[in-house]
Symmetry: C2
Subunit: 474 residues, 2 copies
Amino acid sequence: MEKDEKGLKVKKSDDLSEWYTQVVQKAELADYSPIKGFMVIRPNAYAIWEKIQEEFNKVLDKKKVRNAYFPLLIPDSFFKKEAKHAEGFAPELAYVEGREEGEKLALRPTSETIIYDSYSKWIRSWRDLPFKLNQWCNVIRWEVKQTKPFLRTREFLWQEGHCVFENEKDADKDMNEMIGEYQKLIGELLAVPTFIGRKSEKEKFPGAQTTMTIEAFMPDGKALQCGTSHNLGQGFAKVFNVKFLDKDEKEKYGWQTSWGFSTRLIGALIMVHGDDKGLVLPPKVAENKVVIVPILFEDSKKKVLGKAGVIAKKLKEYNCILDDREEYKPGYKFNEWEMKGIPVRVEIGPKDLEKDTVVLVRRDTGDKKVIKINDVDKEVDKALVDIQRNLFEKAKKFLDSRIDSAKDMVELNKKLKSGKIVKVYMKNDVGVEDLIKDETGGATSRIIEEVEEAGNCIKSGEKVNTLGYISKSY
Amino acid sequence: MEKDEKGLKVKKSDDLSEWYTQVVQKAELADYSPIKGFMVIRPNAYAIWEKIQEEFNKVLDKKKVRNAYFPLLIPDSFFKKEAKHAEGFAPELAYVEGREEGEKLALRPTSETIIYDSYSKWIRSWRDLPFKLNQWCNVIRWEVKQTKPFLRTREFLWQEGHCVFENEKDADKDMNEMIGEYQKLIGELLAVPTFIGRKSEKEKFPGAQTTMTIEAFMPDGKALQCGTSHNLGQGFAKVFNVKFLDKDEKEKYGWQTSWGFSTRLIGALIMVHGDDKGLVLPPKVAENKVVIVPILFEDSKKKVLGKAGVIAKKLKEYNCILDDREEYKPGYKFNEWEMKGIPVRVEIGPKDLEKDTVVLVRRDTGDKKVIKINDVDKEVDKALVDIQRNLFEKAKKFLDSRIDSAKDMVELNKKLKSGKIVKVYMKNDVGVEDLIKDETGGATSRIIEEVEEAGNCIKSGEKVNTLGYISKSY
């Protein structure tokens, strides 16, 4: 087969970072912006984001959360009201140059503060609760770390849900339900398996009482946080005055949650499923699920194209592409559509025509199968279902195989180096975790787990009932 | 009927501006932000925007325009490349405070410059054309004029389409088709009639060769620009180097178009259809098309609620609200749903139950009709279709009745004062139009029309073949 000069110049297993950069460019998912740390989301990736939006809007509808839109610019003083929130976000805030007298305006890195300022005006009585809004928007966080398209950029797109409840129990329930919805959505739609759990004191959201997270696991042994859900307690309610008159005629502060995921999910999908030929799209998220490549020779061209057209019509519901370009050879087209991750390829040439067959090629395994033209829709459907399942299972098996445990720092470091997530007894304490981070060259707990059987903290030696799942992360 | 303290404190015909402000607040469409000139788009209005997005995404799909996302921040130097574009947008640009060395970064007021920088990298050959992208995003324009929710704010949401063609003819065709699509969408979905035409030299988009516009007409005699479509010629292509290798192996500059509409459309809808009871939603854009208000008395409550529930199920496809709150009286509920603009109200009380009827009330006319419960879905459907049609026709009649003409400045001013759009012979010249603006206290041409029969320019006296449609505008 002819070698496509547009192909990847590096293997995924050799240099994941360079491989990722090339896939993002060559599958036309994103491009660099003239401004450092910003990216252009190209249509191939934006279509994935739209599919995620569509599916999550159904969840929002089910949960009776309505969409709204709050301003991009937030008064600086709002950030100063909740001390931990302020401290957490200060390093990454960008401001608008003073256009007029008055206070500094920050570009939103997250919208708790400006949204709860509105909530304090809108919420009056227990009858207004639960109060649930979501917004889809862009946010700006002036990252100092190395940026990478989708995984870490100074601007990204996300959704942020913000709810107010009467009591702690309802807030906790919402936090847990929403992180569950995230795991389900990402697993079912993007075929990306995640593990779920609570963040440590060090890693939780600035201003939250509790943070739940779902984390995916990348081939290089780093975890990728894919979404978080926070029980904010009453901290924001108290400083933003989010109060309601309860049934007992007493004024009480609301209990709040917030939860979000971002375009980072597209990065997870690329990393988890991609291979040496490029992107691999899970069928459910693929805009075009099938591409038909007719094998054209001068004498049989018309016939083959005619039949390819008939098949394309049969596969219309899969938003099938018929690649009838005559200026490119089949091999070039195979490479191009493989790079772009189209789940199923259907090849049809003059010999197939004689036998009334086509060749069906799966993007995930490369398996080829000769099938009757009559069965093409049935076979394509079967293949798509199987690809979706296979991608998830393969990734799940990988994730499961990488969770290990360690008794001491030496073992922890050894296992981290071999690309594992390592469970260790760890005190849920910022100081202890800082030490672990230092001594592992940057690994932190992804989640913290309460266990019945106590053990000695790997760092402080104290008896604790908490396991930290330690790994490096994006 | 009891008087609702939540009602409007002013009549639409007495003080349109104050009426508008109250409807926006009381129908919970928008709220003020702590920052001057910014607004919160509340769920009732955001749902309208989502419906507009849904419908326009279908148009984009038909036109083979794909969605993408470009960065919020644009290097200042990009704006300086196209002289007229720079001059037009300079007064409204906001910048990010220098986070690091290097040039100033502007918050996008529109994205021609940063998008065409990418196009210069992506477009190579005539095979890449037409090249068509759209983005849905927020933009920032630091307005100095008085702001008003939806109609003029410093941040708003919009879509901007950006296309590249091989030649001028194709670009012109796209410009005209898209302004036609806008008129159709806004007419059919929002029931807002508009007139279509070309902008004058004074009023066209900074950097465009030709600008087409659709303009709606407000009850106070001001026009509201609802969307524009530009043939940008090759001006941007030349400064951003958007070139393609043509079939003749020669490198040529592309011909470009851009077109956009914004959340301002929600303002048009409020202004055009609203009345002294509040918002009036055209059924096609109403999230909830029907509200059922049961008339509850202690002895018949259970029966009435039971039947109301049955009717609600029958009307499920209209996303019907069953207002079974017991703490409010029917009159209060009537007022509330009228304020929010729900197109159809169904009332059911114990007397109706006996006769197997309900009362159907139209929001647009207030007309009441007793109908058989068996016919409720049919009758609701008929009413919704009729309301949609009626709202458009009423507004169209008003618009048509307000287009007039004048021979001289005295007549022009007199007719402007009576709330008309006035056709006058006008030279298509910035200087002439500036004079007209001065002498009318701010009126400008909304569109300019080429006519066969020449006449004397109202200001310069020169023989011209162009009519200006003069009015004040938002």
